[in-house]
Amino acid sequence: MSSVIVRPDAAPELPPRARPLPRVLFRPVARHHLWGYVFLAPMLLLLLTFKLVPMVQAFRLSLTSYDLLTPPRFVGFDNYIGLMSDTRFIKSVGVTLYYTFGTCVPIWFISLGLALIFNMALPGRNYLRLAYFLPTIVPIVVFGMIWKFLFHPYGLLNVGIESVGLPPVDWLTSSAAVIPGFILSSEWRFAPYFMVVYLAGLQNIPQELKEAASIDGANARQRFWYIVLPLLRPTILLVVVVSVIMASKAFTNVLVISGGGPNGASTVIGLYIYQQAFQFFKMGVASAASMLLLLGIMLLTLFQMWIFRDAQPE
């Protein structure tokens, strides 16, 4: 009755059954699913205590005016209404969308490409992969310093650009160039990160399937399109969702490199929230803005999951 399992290492040895299962136990379909709760419980407990409960608190704070120095004062939905008419907030939403999709969409493809390449056996692959991976592990403190230097009018980026005959770019002082600059720095830092995620996902695709397909005459493109890609869908969903979440929340890089300028052109929502909370002493407003951010990301995520709905488990 067991399916044929072909694996290089031995399958776990299960003891032969001594006697048939009693009839009353033969509802494994319903019964064993309760174990779902058991397995989920520990992490759920952690997340509940240290994430979900604080999130509820943050929501409650968003209904108050709170300067961290005196107790919060209930103001109902005033913060939210204020945000809707705050031009700086609305501008930051636009900037965030620009930055998020400008960073994420290329990453989805670049990381996949790199992962596919590095999944093949190449000479010196481990060293090359390490070289691509290093940008991800540069400490954030130094990441800011490095890119500030790169963005300098006479810095390396402009030197490179001028060497191919193009005019230098005002990276941090032109509203048009500042977000593309950040996108570039984020690609540098996170394309390798998601490359590794894709690589992990690619390991789930059995080599034998691909080899069987090529024996049947499929070429590389067909193998990719009809075998690899469909099996990769769960990982693609992961990359899409997580990259959007990470990019939407980003602010440390902006804080360190441009401070949100010029004239608010790089003030993403994350930075707006930080400013409200710690520079303007308006934690209530910051919380309200965070709730709106949460709502936006949640809608995007649900949308993404709907698109990938056939990559879901039953």
Partner: protein
């Protein structure tokens, strides 16, 4: 080695244009190497800056290698702040968080991927939602909870809240989806308990994902600044990022020393990655499943 041969075999397998493709892929390979070089340029600048005296670090046009490399910057940086302590703490905290998070994420991902129970999808969305709020507004409420638990200035205060991260749950869920249900069913019919199924059937298939997650959690924890800063008030418990931040004083930043220590801080992760890479190859060999 075997894989290298496999690569060549594959090229031989599909015959027409194999030579062309091989040539193209050599050009592609060259591009890949150049790309790696480009990725490394900022890091190389970082290392060369770490060896310069303060009045040379930002010189433009860029000075690629200092005239007199100051190797003592590394020793000075290390001694300026208690980095021995900071590194020890970072290792302890990162190790603990990684183990806890990977273990619990595996369980949770398994539950979400292979079980059907009431409220599963709602719980999954709730879990994902925990990724979506920025830390600034969560700081005060979370801090209060940790304070209530009397975990301020303790290792558990550094470790347990940091282990609460949903990325791993998501990663594990998406990976465990691939495990064929029939495998689990068969084991159940054979009388194996659910826990045994997880550890003996599912987990061995997950090593690439487990290693990837371990790497990512380690990286996240290693680089974390805000939470350790809030929780600790004494050097005895502080971690490396806080130490790095101390180089940035109000009036002058020892850029060269920051770069030096940052480079040292990168090494453990780089080594980990290098080691884990080999496991990816073994992963390939081990996950073939045919039905």
């Amino acid at each position: 080695m075997a894989l290298h041969r496999g690569y060549l075999n594959r090229a031989a397998l599909a015959s027409p244009g194999a030579a062309v493709r091989f040539a193209l892929s050599s050009a592609g390979y060259l591009l890949l190497v150049l790309g790696a070089g480009v990725m490394l340029i900022p890091i190389f600048w970082m290392v060369s800056t770490s060896l310069k005296p303060l009045n040379e670090i930002f010189s433009l046009p860029v000075q690629w290698w200092p005239a007199e490399p100051r190797w003592e910057n590394y020793a000075n940086a290390w001694n300026r702040f208690p980095f021995g302590r900071y590194f020890t703490n970072s290792i302890i905290v990162s190790l603990a968080v990684t183990i806890i998070n990977v273990l619990l994420s595996g369980f949770a991902g398994f539950a979400l991927a292979k079980y059907r129970f009431f409220g599963k999808n709602v719980l999954f969305i709730a879990i994902l939602a925990t990724l979506m709020l920025p830390i600034e507004v969560l700081m005060v409420p979370t801090f209060l909870i940790v304070k209530e638990l009397n975990w301020l200035n303790t290792y558990q205060g550094l470790i347990i809240p940091a282990a609460a991260d949903a990325f791993g749950v998501f990663l594990m869920r998406q990976t465990i989806i691939h495990v064929p249900d029939s495998l689990l069913e068969a084991a159940r019919i054979d009388g194996a308990s659910e826990v045994r199924i997880y550890f003996q059937i599912v987990l061995p298939l997950l090593w690439p994902a487990v290693l990837t997650l371990a790497l990512f959690v380690w990286r996240e924890t290693w680089d974390a600044f805000v939470w350790p800063l809030l929780i600790t008030s004494q050097d005895a418990l502080r971690t490396v990022p806080i130490g790095l931040q101390r180089f940035s004083e109000e009036n002058v930043t020892n850029h060269n020393e920051v770069m030096a220590m940052s480079f040292v801080a990168m090494l453990p992760l780089a080594i980990l990655f290098f080691i884990f890479q080999r496991a990816f190859i073994q992963g390939i060999a081990g996950t073939g499943i045919k039905e």
